[in-house]
Symmetry: C2
Subunit: 194 residues, 2 copies
């Protein structure tokens, strides 16, 4: 994984299912796209979100300070349209983009980051957008009420392992698996009390 290849040798293979949906088409200014289960779940993952939390690697796939002119992978008008908390040991000034997205760079633990994201989200939900280590940290801290993981049937052979250290996760979240219409499987976890 590198700045130029943020998904490493996986390339775009983990996201093709999403690009093919109506939501994916709309996101890139195209017409059409699929309207089945994959699209329903993709749409749902963007509904009612008032703030996203992401790891630094999702914003800039490297370590050390983020270059001052780096504005993320999404062009001048990112698809978030809300505040985004970027977790990094090297905070820098907030970055306001077109379309309502503002990146807030914070050196915070999961609970602190969630508290700030909740404040920024107002009455809406906070989405945890990845990457894998960030998800695992929040799952380990039991701060996730709803989980949506898409399993793509390829064997990458190496990479970050989402479930490491999370033995018994299914005792905290009710888990169901839903077949997509493009060959992927959606793993949906919901906290029983949520």
């Amino acid at each position: 994984m590198s700045v130029e290849q943020p998904f490493g040798h996986a390339g775009t293979r983990l996201h093709e299912w999403m690009f093919d949906t109506a939501m994916g088409h709309r996101m890139f200014g195209r017409e059409g796209g699929s309207t089945g289960v994959d699209n329903d779940l993709a749409e749902e993952s963007w509904e009612g979100i008032g703030c996203e939390i992401m790891g630094r690697g999702k914003f800039h796939t490297a370590s050390g300070p983020i270059p001052p002119d780096w504005e993320g992978y999404w062009g001048p008008n990112p698809p978030f349209h809300t505040p985004v908390v970027v977790l990094t040991r090297h905070p820098r000034e907030d970055l306001a983009m077109e379309g309502g997205t503002t990146f807030h760079f914070r050196d915070a633990d999961p609970a602190e980051a969630l508290a700030e994201a909740r404040r920024l989200a107002g009455d809406l939900d906070v989405r945890l957008g990845g990457g894998v280590r960030t998800l695992r940290t929040f799952l380990d801290a039991d701060l996730v009420d709803h989980l949506h993981v898409v399993v793509v049937p390829v064997v990458l052979g190496r990479g970050e392992r989402l479930w490491d250290g999370l033995e018994g996760l299914e005792e905290r979240l009710d888990v169901r698996m839903v077949a997509g219409d493009s060959g992927v499987t959606h793993v949906i976890g919901t906290r029983p009390s949520a």
Copy 2:
């Protein structure tokens, strides 16, 4: 994992989906059971099989010579009803059971074991019944034409990793994922030419 607990801390959790099917009920002399996707695929996995290959750990979950009086985990009338090739570094005499099952203990590599199993199976198919290391060895040697893996939504946290070393497996097998009716997902791989 041990002789007493062949699935270790997983216990029966990986097999409950199968016990609940009509096939699972029949196997244990019970009436009823589910008749949906899970049962269809469970039934299919036993159809037209003339010989099973299994790793020694499936027959006796330990290392070293198998105790002379050990007859496997399935009682006097095992559910195979065919020859079974048990791969072990410590061969012993064939063991004929009630109902047509005969265990053949062989110190053989995957290609040799498959050749013998094919001979024993006659016109029928050979099933590779596990465990994980045995499956991985045969997948690595590209000797598998049809794959059926059931994914149960629990995080075990430790154990054998089926896919290790199998990067790009989906380029050799067409892979699809099928939702079961009990919360599991069936991963089905088929060799394009098969």
